[in-house]
């Protein structure tokens, strides 16, 4: 192939894109048969008034699904950091989780 001599010649060029990671499929946790009597953790990532939003979610459950226990919990630090202590606590004490508002 020519190296771009005129407008009609075909030329060969290299692809500028990097190599993506190998994607490993992750399993989803089994879903709950019902929320009746269950404990849901509402996880506040502490970003852009997310706590205020989750309090409205909590109120919604109190009004419409009072058999569901909701517990509002803040992440231990900024939302950019993993929070294994909080995840372990939710795993030990909760049946499900709602995280919001994501960013």
């Amino acid at each position: 192939m020519a190296d771009g001599i005129n407008g009609t010649d075909k030329i060969s060029v290299l692809n500028p894109v990097g190599f993506p990671p190998k994607i490993t499929p992750k399993p989803m946790a089994p879903r709950l048969e019902s929320l009746d009597g269950k404990t849901l953790y509402l996880v506040d990532p502490r970003f852009d008034d997310s706590g205020l939003f989750l309090r409205q979610v909590q109120d919604w459950f109190a009004d419409y699904m009072p058999s569901v226990t909701t517990k509002l919990v803040e992440m231990s630090s900024v939302y950019t950091k993993d929070d294994p202590k909080t995840w372990e606590m939710i795993k030990a004490n909760g049946d499900g989780a709602i995280i919001g508002v994501g960013h």
């Binding site: 192939m1 190296d3 771009g4 407008g7 009609t8 075909k10 030329i11 060969s12 060029v13 290299l14 692809n15 500028p16 894109v17 990097g18 190599f19 993506p20 990671p21 190998k22 994607i23 490993t24 499929p25 992750k26 989803m28 946790a29 879903r31 709950l32 048969e33 019902s34 929320l35 849901l40 996880v43 502490r46 970003f47 852009d48 008034d49 205020l52 939003f53 409205q56 979610v57 109120d59 919604w60 803040e74 992440m75 231990s76 630090s77 900024v78 939302y79 950019t80 995840w87 939710i90 795993k91 049946d95 499900g96 989780a97 709602i98 995280i99 919001g100 508002v101 994501g102 960013h103």
Partner: protein, 441 residues
């Protein structure tokens, strides 16, 4: 991202609620993290600043993406079993081809533009000849892994070789003699196309002999488009960042709400070591004067500037500028040599460290104002409430008590400019690292 971990790693059924501005980004992240059936719903953007009543209306309302009730999607997300069908959409073994299909010059330019491989300005097509010429200026092998990069902490790293960096350097119009410096930038793993809603750009400061070897500008107009090396190295850093991290596409892998003009060429210049009265930046960070280095700053957004360092009120002027900066991004002082010498005359700062100490002591704000900033609420307040110093101590201050805005190790000074006048500016940004250029020769 946290929802995926809680769901898959800890076995807790989880639903994430996002704002609708993140629709494409959420799809992209869950796909790349191998969980395409992750459960989520959307409420309108923004949540920030809304009243309790308005937020309750969001909860009671419908997803602006699906049109279905938000809480219905939440409940279904916790109770509806996984179907396993969307997992088939993922290609788990992928590799990027080395070459693009041959075509005419015009068609290839169109292809690169349409594939979002450019910064929307014309590029130089990376022919094998031009890439070979670039590769000839490093001792590293073309297929050697040069680094890994991602657009933010919620994305997965992509990998790239020395040749891939060369391809992007050619596209930017860089000369082969710049290549070791461009490789050093790529190897840093710091992206110049970081994805944050705050629209950050990067800044690059070059020190040591490489500055003069390749004709970089540290004098008049150093930060403006008047020097080939400054311009194309900065552009190459931007192009390689977006292409080697897997893209930078608005709404998908780039979420900067307003964007940032600094990102066009990245703010790239050499420190004016010859005219600086102080130790050069790379020596401050553990390198020898004869080492060639490149230092990277991110989060460049807010800028304040003024002329001179006045005898009577210079302290007040600087304090005013610091109070006007974004309280979350620490100040890096970019001083023309005239201004640098004035700081010595006015403040007695015979080292950068003494000036930094003064700035640290004088960048003050009432605690109540400081903690009320949304960025401080998002990124500092959570750390303070869980005891991280010095934030925890600052949190104990009364609302009217003046507290320090920054930490001393976040404040930096760089000398740049051609002494046509004593202008100087403060760039709000975060120093990331200094990388050796010599290791990539």
């Amino acid at each position: 991202m946290h929802a995926i971990a809680l769901d898959s790693k800890y076995g807790v059924p989880t639903v994430a609620i996002h704002t609708n501005a993140f629709d494409k980004a959420v799809q992209s992240v869950i796909r790349m993290h191998g969980m395409p059936e992750a459960r989520y719903t959307f409420v309108p953007q923004p949540v920030m600043g809304k009243t309790a009543e308005q937020l309750r209306a969001y909860v009671e309302g419908k997803s602006p993406i699906s049109g279905r009730p938000v809480m219905q999607e939440v409940i279904e997300g916790l109770t509806r079993p996984a179907e396993g069908d969307r997992i088939k959409e993922i290609k788990f073994e992928r590799s990027t081809p080395r070459m693009v299909d041959s075509d005419t010059d015009e068609n290839l330019h169109h292809l690169f533009l349409e594939n979002n491989w450019t910064d929307k300005l014309p590029i130089v097509l990376p022919t094998e000849k031009k890439v070979r010429e670039m590769l000839a200026r490093t001792s590293r092998k073309p297929d050697e892994v040069a680094g890994h990069m991602r657009s933010n902490q919620f994305r997965q790293y992509w990998e790239f070789t020395v040749e891939k960096v060369a391809v992007n350097a050619v596209m930017a119009g860089a000369r082969p003699e710049y290549f070791p410096l461009i490789l050093a930038l790529a190897s840093s793993g710091v992206s110049a196309r970081g994805s944050t809603t705050s629209s950050m750009a990067a800044m690059v400061v070059v020190n040591g002999p490489i500055r003069n070897e390749i004709g970089m500008n540290s004098g008049t107009g150093a930060m403006a488009p008047y020097n080939h090396a400054n311009a194309t190295i900065g552009r190459a850093y931007g192009l390689l960042s977006q292409n080697l991290q897997g893209g930078s596409l608005p709404g998908d892998s780039y979420m900067g709400s307003q964007g940032n003009g600094y990102a066009y060429g990245t703010v790239t210049f050499a420190e004016n070591e010859e005219r600086s009265p102080w130790q050069s930046f790379h020596v401050q960070h553990g390198f020898k004067p004869a080492d060639s280095t490149v230092s990277i700053f991110t989060g460049c957004r807010s800028t304040a500037f003024t002329l001179g360092v006045r005898e009577k009120f210079w302290r007040e002027h600087v304090r005013n500028m610091l109070r006007g900066m974004d309280a979350h991004s620490a100040p890096t002082f970019l001083l023309d040599p005239i201004a640098a010498r004035q700081y010595i005359d006015r403040g007695g700062f015979d080292s950068k460290e003494k000036m930094i100490e003064w700035v640290y002591e004088n960048a003050l704000m009432p605690a109540g104002e400081y903690w009320d900033y949304q960025l401080i609420q998002n990124y500092i307040y959570p750390r303070a409430t869980f005891g991280e110093e010095p934030y925890a101590s600052k949190l104990k201050a009364a609302p009217d008590e003046m507290i320090k805005m920054f930490k001393p190790d976040e404040i930096h000074v760089v000398v740049v400019g051609g002494e046509t006048n004593g202008y100087w500016r403060i760039m709000g940004c975060n120093y990331q690292k200094t990388v050796s250029v010599d290791e990539w020769r």
